[in-house]
Amino acid sequence: MLESIVFSVLNGLLYGMLLFMLASGLTLIFGMMGVLNFAHASFYMLGAYCAYTISSYTNFWVALILAPLFVGFLGALTERFGLRNVHKHGHVAELLLTFGLVYVIDELVVLIWGQIPVNYAIPPSLDFTLFTLFGTSFPAYRAFILFVAVAMFVAIYLLLVRTRVGMIIRAALSHPEMVGALGHDVPRIFTLVFAFGTGLAGLAGVMAGNYYITEPGMAFSMGPIVFVVVVFGGLGSLGGALAASLIIGLVTTFAVSLNYSVADLLAAVGLGLDGENIAGGLAHIDLSRIGQMLPYLMMVLILIFRPRGLMGARES
């Protein structure tokens, strides 16, 4: 039991940090531009595929740097030639544009790399067992993912709070006219922010693509859950995204590894339920099945009772 809890915590943390890498860019873009980027997970997928291509010519370390830059560049193009044009039609139009981009990017990935998963592998220099605990080994690459995610959080935080650029960015969001009047190019700041956010998604893709599997469905399987994280944590809040990522990572992981049904738990405390009536039927559903639904349920509940999310500053 103890080892299962320890490993669930480790696995949950890891999944949570991967979610955070993805969610941080999304929440930044929203917090700064008010744009909900539906295509965020698609940029994540692009990151993984670009890393695959780049690393097949050079190596993983080059890909780790170049792929996020390239994805960020694509993000900048998207903002400059797409979002900026529809900005005047309001946020719903921006949402719809990124929604359409999901279809375009996902199909372009199939067009370029095919439908079959690509063999994007963990670099040999990180492919070893870091330590063994209770007979289960902990691969070094997982530790590396955790390290990169934490480093990313610290870097973004310092960038926004401690630097002049960060101050201008934050000011541009709340008072664009004022910042513009001070001689800063606000549209360019928006482009940079969007590029930065999508670049972070690209970085998440580089890290997760070889840990999981790089295939055209990876964006779709990640997209909704990232939205959940961002909304749950509070749109625009970096700290909220971190907390929400970890909560959701841990909750889903524990639901899988604690494979008990509610009936088992009740039986453990001496309450028997028979499966015949409806309440009994519900109670016999495995926790692992409920686990998939939990994040969405949490999101709906928080939107109803606390629409600004865990740590959000304002409501949408």
């Binding site: 299962s4 289960t136 599997i213 469905g217 899988v256």
Partner: protein, 422 residues
């Protein structure tokens, strides 16, 4: 993956909506080929499996056509992407019927197989002059030749009950097995394995303890490490899994990464990325039950298979000739058509019933009662010490442990077949 013929015609027609509406009527081309509709996932998490299957069919059709085809007609394989969805498959079934396809084949997913058996039955009842035959090369839920059996469905893979009978017979002799863990995909196929394996083990080895029985969502799990730690903490020494595609390679990959030290009994570890994912970690630990693996050509006289094996691998980098049963299926279809002297679905289905055929490994029979093929099966182990062919360049290959004769694999069926009178 699709037919570009008629593209121009359609593209031009697409300009005007009115004209365009009429386009699909132009789709049914001349009957100069035998069309086989291949309905399997060509996108999504199981795309690699579907794609490999399609390549097998196209390659084998090409060989048949090079030999003059069947009854002088060429075989044409048309690939349809069903996205692993039962509903999409039924939609495709109609489309295929309109395009003059009389034979469909599918394998990946018994939930799709079940829907197609049902769909073909309804279609044939409602359209008696445009019937279809369903050739199943891999959907192994016993129900498809059991309570759901249909005259129009033929299965060329051993069903799950037969496979588990073979596996548990073999396991019964391995005294060091004490604790077994079952992990399977959460749909009819995985549910059947979980149910039947427990029954059979209880009967053959009552001393074995089932320490875990997990069903996981199909094609959605990206990280199996929570499941691996569950297996780890259960103290299991043996795992039985009927997983396939990514769900298998990700599972064994997570097991290898987590240093899980168990023996795996699998259905599908032999190809499509799993050997690569296993690597050295799987050596001597992973067993599979199949109708074929490459190194069998070293033990049996099978020059044609050796040629196919080598040519196929040369042609498709990274994909190996994995499905002998697709060859068996195409050969039997050819013989049935030649025996019937026609490509009419009813005549061919009648000819297929009870048909026998010789293969390098023994006689195979299409059982008349339920349209289940009985064929020899082999248990093999993934090993560094293999006869000749390694698997996917992994430096490891499959070594045969035991052969099970076609007759010994038979499991009784509850099928009561309703046959059409005309």
């Amino acid at each position: 993956m699709k037919h570009y013929k008629g593209l121009v015609r359609r593209a031009v027609a697409a300009v005007g909506v009115a004209a365009a509406l009429a386009v699909p009527t132009l789709g049914s081309a001349a009957d100069d080929t035998i069309k086989i509709g291949y309905i399997d996932p060509l996108s999504g998490p199981f795309a690699n499996v579907g794609d490999a299957g399609l390549k097998h069919f196209k390659y084998l059709a090409e060989r048949i056509n090079a030999d003059g085809g069947i009854l002088g007609k060429d075989v044409e394989i048309i690939g349809y992407d069903n996205k692993s969805s039962a509903q999409e498959s039924l939609q495709i079934l109609r489309e295929a019927a309109d395009e003059g396809v009389q034979y469909i084949t599918q394998g990946n997913g018994s939930h799709v197989g079940g829907a197609l058996v049902d769909g073909v039955e309804k279609h044939n009842r409602r359209n008696p002059d445009n019937r279809m035959v369903f050739l199943n090369y891999a959907a192994v839920d016993p129900a498809l030749t059991g309570e759901k059996c249909s005259f129009w469905h033929f299965r060329f893979d051993a069903n799950s009950a037969m496979k588990l009978q073979a596996i548990t017979d073999y396991m019964a002799e391995q005294d060091d097995i004490k604790k077994v863990f079952l992990i399977n995909m959460d749909y009819s196929h995985g549910q059947a394995i979980s149910r039947i394996a427990k029954e059979m083990l209880k009967e053959k080895r009552p001393d074995i303890e089932i320490v875990g029985d997990v069903l996981h969502p199909v094609g959605k799990v990206k990280d199996f490490s929570p499941y691996i730690s569950q297996i780890q903490s259960s103290g299991a020494d043996t795992v039985i899994s009927g997983n396939w595609g990514n769900d298998l390679s990700l599972l064994v990959k997570a097991g290898a990464q987590g240093g899980l030290d168990v023996d795996w009994y699998t259905y599908y570890a032999g190809g499509l990325g799993t050997p690569t994912a296993l690597g050295k970690a799987g050596a001597e630990h992973v067993k599979m039950l199949t109708e074929w693996q490459e190194n069998l050509v070293e033990e049996y006289e099978a020059p044609e298979l050796r040629e196919i094996l080598e040519e196929f691998e040369q042609r498709y980098e990274g994909i190996e000739f994995y499905y002998l049963r697709i060859k068996t299926q195409m050969d039997m279809l050819q013989q049935a058509m030649e025996k019937a002297g026609s490509t009419d679905p009813l005549a061919v289905a009648r000819a297929l019933e009870g048909m026998t055929m010789e293969t390098p490994f023994g006689t195979v029979t299409m059982r008349e009662q339920d349209h289940q093929l009985l064929q020899p099966l082999f248990i093999s182990t993934f090993s560094e010490d293999y006869p000749k062919y390694d698997s996917e360049g992994s430096g490891l290959g499959w070594v045969m442990n035991a052969k099970l004769d076609a007759a010994s694999t038979a499991v009784d069926s509850v099928c009561e077949m309703k046959r059409p009178s005309s």
